[in-house]
């Protein structure tokens, strides 16, 4: 695997209200993945098209904020909000980013406890058998009140917390 580009973005540098209307229903995970991948994709060779790019989203815990909001709202009002359910799914981050970026190649979300980063790289290498390029994006965002709990019980998440890091690879 040959690293073509890397892009990073921190949650503190993303203001969802300032992004364009297509981000209206986005979560912070979705915005961070899309924005960082957009930067990395600028390094895709000009003759490559986006169906030739596989996409792996690696997230230890997925859309925790949306899940919490969905459950809290439902608990308080007894009315489930479809957009919060839709956004609570692990795969929703990948779905949103692939739609925004026009990625139509193979795509997977991977959540594999402490082995998530290793599994993601393994899958990326595998997907290079199907397409000449692969994007791998690591993302985890947690609501502030839950951070101490997660850090105490899952210390491995600390270096991935509240940021997205995207890498674009080609076949060696």
């Amino acid at each position: 695997m040959k690293l073509l580009a890397e892009a990073k973005i921190a949650a503190e540098n993303v203001n969802l209200q300032e992004l364009d209307a297509s981000y209206r229903k986005a979560t912070l995970n979705m915005a961070m993945v899309t924005l960082s991948c957009e930067q990395a994709l600028r390094h895709l060779p000009e003759d490559a098209n986006k169906s030739q790019v596989s996409f792996v989203v690696a997230t230890h815990f997925g859309e925790v904020s949306s899940t919490l909001e969905f459950l809290s709202t439902y608990h308080e009002t007894q009315t489930p909000r479809p957009i919060l359910f839709q956004n609570s799914l692990h795969n929703s981050t990948l779905g949103f980013a692939s739609l925004q970026l026009g990625l139509t190649g193979p795509a997977m979300t991977v959540s594999c406890d402490r082995a998530t980063p290793h599994a993601a790289m393994n899958l990326a290498e595998t997907l290079l058998e199907l397409t000449p390029y692969v994007l791998v994006c690591f993302v985890d965002h947690l609501p502030a009140p839950l951070v101490p709990y997660y850090l105490e019980n899952f210390p491995f998440v600390e270096s991935y917390l509240n940021k997205a890091r995207c890498q674009l690879y080609s076949r060696a």
Binding site: G62, P80, Q86, N91, G95, G105, M108, V110, E129
Partner: protein
Amino acid sequence: MAEHFRIRGPMALTTSSCSASLQALATAFLWIRAKKVRRCIVGTTEIHADLTRVGFGSLRLLSKNICSPFDKNRAGINLGEGSAFLCLEDAGLRPQTAGWGYLSGAGLSTDAYHATSPHPEGKGSQEAMRMALESAKLDPKKIGWVYAHGTGSPANDLAEAKAISQVFSHKPWVSSTKSSHGHTLAASGALESVLGLLAMKRNEILPTHNYKETDPQISLRITSEKVAQPLDHFLKNSLGFGGINASVIFSKTARPS
């Protein structure tokens, strides 16, 4: 599970919604083909949670009656619970031992169309099926049966039906068994692969229970009764939220390497 069973080789947990377990089968296929591993355990478990039931209800995707995939009056899905695990191994590892079947091709794609609805023409699904056929080096006419995702949702079934019609001009049999066991979401790909492998061993096309009336927009060869027919290959589809598509092809005999 890897720790419990002391599995030291590569592992992955894909959480790609309803395509997850078919993606996992595709990954195992690619790992074995690339000689990264010689054997791989693949599977999924899906259990009911209030979050799932309430969530799908909020999207108005649930049918109040037994679901009826591809039927003119289909009105949504039934949630199901299930678990299925398969052991895949390099066909050359124990050539004298007959397996249940052979995974001969896999294809993956993304719609990039909508968060929860498939592309109306099933473009992504078409791409996944074509990739699987190419990977298996099979002419579409060799596929005797398409074991569809077929959730019973109006939009999903129509998109998948259009995709199947585009890829397979010879009108193979098409079934969905979700009216028998419900939609087991992430587990559906693995669970239905096992059912499909058993059916292929018996040369049977599984029925789509509760299929009664043809939808004029759907031009597929669907049966509500079991059909006895010699079967060498079948293709299994999964389509998931986020526009994630997976297709795999199972064959009765191993392709010569």
